[in-house]
């Protein structure tokens, strides 16, 4: 296994708060890596640093062997690093199909192409079929339920054939059946070669799906290992339960 994403000594402070403090992390190609930690441990900040939404104060980010420190989210997206948001951000006034098509990662010269070309429609239809959402293809995204929006956001980032997908709390606020659906899609995509980095609070979901599990506390990686080890590790228990 080779490292797809390597974060070395990432730093980010907000005023006096060191949200991410000398944090290093590696995501192996082909893995489903979990990123867990108590609230305020820096998971979301680290996500924002990796995806270019925040500029790090220090440290290095390497993706697919290349230094991508300081790249903007669009650049990273076109290189194959994509994310979803905690709040299921979709474009409410666009149709479900358009929500997929807009995420196609187009080059400049593609902008003159039709809004939804036959090729786009075909690719979107394939994904919708995979996500069993064909029947809502022409609805506006605002007409979907929250759970469906989460699925749509996930499906949309797959339009660009990503290498690494960062999922920010994929199961937050959705019902148990949707959690199973989400888990199945992550597994299917993972076996098709997509690597995942998942922030998640649902420990059962993490323990079923992810390996390895990386634990953050106070902006640092305190432990990385298999799910079984993590549950036994005194450092981790201490971080979650306090002393």
């Amino acid at each position: 296994m080779t490292a797809l994403l390597e974060v070395t000594s990432a730093q980010k402070a907000f005023g006096g708060v060191r949200a991410v403090d000398d944090c290093s992390l590696t995501v192996e190609e082909g893995s489903i890596t979990a990123l867990i930690g108590p609230n305020g441990s820096g998971k979301t900040t680290l996500f924002n640093l990796i995806t270019g939404y925040l500029k790090a104060d220090g440290g290095q980010f390497r993706f697919r062997g290349q230094d991508v420190t300081g790249s903007d989210p669009g650049h990273l997206y076109r290189r194959g690093l994509t994310r979803t948001f905690q709040q299921a951000r979709v474009f409410p006034h666009m149709s479900v199909t358009e929500n997929l098509v807009v995420a196609g990662g187009y080059r400049w010269r593609d902008l003159v192409l039709p809004r939804v070309s036959g090729h786009d429609r075909h690719r979107a239809a394939e994904l919708l079929e995979e996500f069993r959402m064909t029947h809502v293809a022409d609805l506006l995204a605002s007409e979907l339920s929250y759970g469906q929006r989460k699925l749509l956001e996930f499906a949309a980032v797959l339009m660009s054939k990503p290498r690494l997908v960062l999922l920010d709390e994929p199961t937050a606020g959705v019902n148990p059946i949707m959690i199973d659906t989400m888990e199945r899609h992550v597994r299917e995509r993972n076996s098709a070669g997509v690597t995942f980095l998942v922030v998640e609070h649902d420990m059962q979901f993490v323990m079923r799906l992810c390996d390895p599990v990386v634990v953050l506390n106070n902006g640092k990686e305190i432990y990385a290992g298999s799910p079984a080890d993590v549950q036994q590790n005194p450092l981790v228990l201490d971080a979650y339960l306090g002393t």
Binding site: F85, F91, V112, R115, H135, G147, Q148, N175
Partner: protein
Amino acid sequence: MRAIVRGGVFVVVFMTLPLFGFEHWVLNLLIFTLMYAAMSSAWNLVGGFAGYPSLGHAAFFGLGAYFIGLWFQHHDVTTGYEPFLILPLAGLVAAAVGAPIAYVAMRTRADVFAIVTITLLFVAQTLAFNLDGVTGGAQGLAMPTPPFELARFEWPFYYAMLWILLTSMLITYLSMRSKVGMSLDAVRADEDKALGVGVHVTGVKVLSFSVSVALVAMAGGVWAYYESFIYPQFAIDPIITIGMVLMTFLGGRGTLWGPVIGAFILVPGQQYLAYRLGGSQFYLIAYAGVFLLIMLLMPRGILPTIADRMRRRRAVAASSGPDATDGASPPSAGGGGGGAGVPVPSGGAA
């Protein structure tokens, strides 16, 4: 197809309109209506589609006006048509000035952007007043009277404004149908998310602003030549910006025909009220009254409100029909609860 027919009828009607031998005041009114329709349509590209409410567009109107005015400082009038031929150049200059301004100003969002651009307007106006050597300052800048025969004096200006309007609408139409329009929709809805899915956010924003101000500058150029005199307070006037914004809001932001409809209601309406209520400023109060009334009844503008009602009626008709599909069913109400409805039946089928 229907869009093309609608557009074709519009073009034919307005191409032939001057042939009916209207009085000068009617043609004058039409010229100003077309001018505001063109500028609202152009403003809509950035204010409507990209969701960046620029209040600085009048600065570019003034830029176009002074471009034509200054051109006459070095050229004599011969056939009278030269200023129309160099109009695209005025547009290019405005686009070239607008692009770096957009690049900087569009790093701010919504309300801050509106303040930044209105500052631009006042900076441009102050410059026009004070650069005496170039603009003539408060004295104004005179141009030769266009040597057109009196009976058809308005025709060239009419057709020039019509050309700018049609160009603006064509650009709007083509961008709506291409990935440019989809990118702008994404920027307007959620810019950070759009950035994260690889939309060329900065690129399409700057592009839409540049094209928009280029069109407005060309309208300013025609206006200056028509008036044949430029005063800074009229060439760079907040009222011009406000006109564009109000007309676009009235007709419907982010639609092809909305700004045009808005202009065709508000410009003649304003003139009519000014005529009825005399030279006092009362007509402006009546004008505001009309605007407030429509906004009260249709807060999103005329066209989106109508489109929404039609969509709802169609959805009702489809769901009550015999072969209603689940695709047409009304949106599910609950967050988590509604989500369960989808995967369960299809999951069972798999």
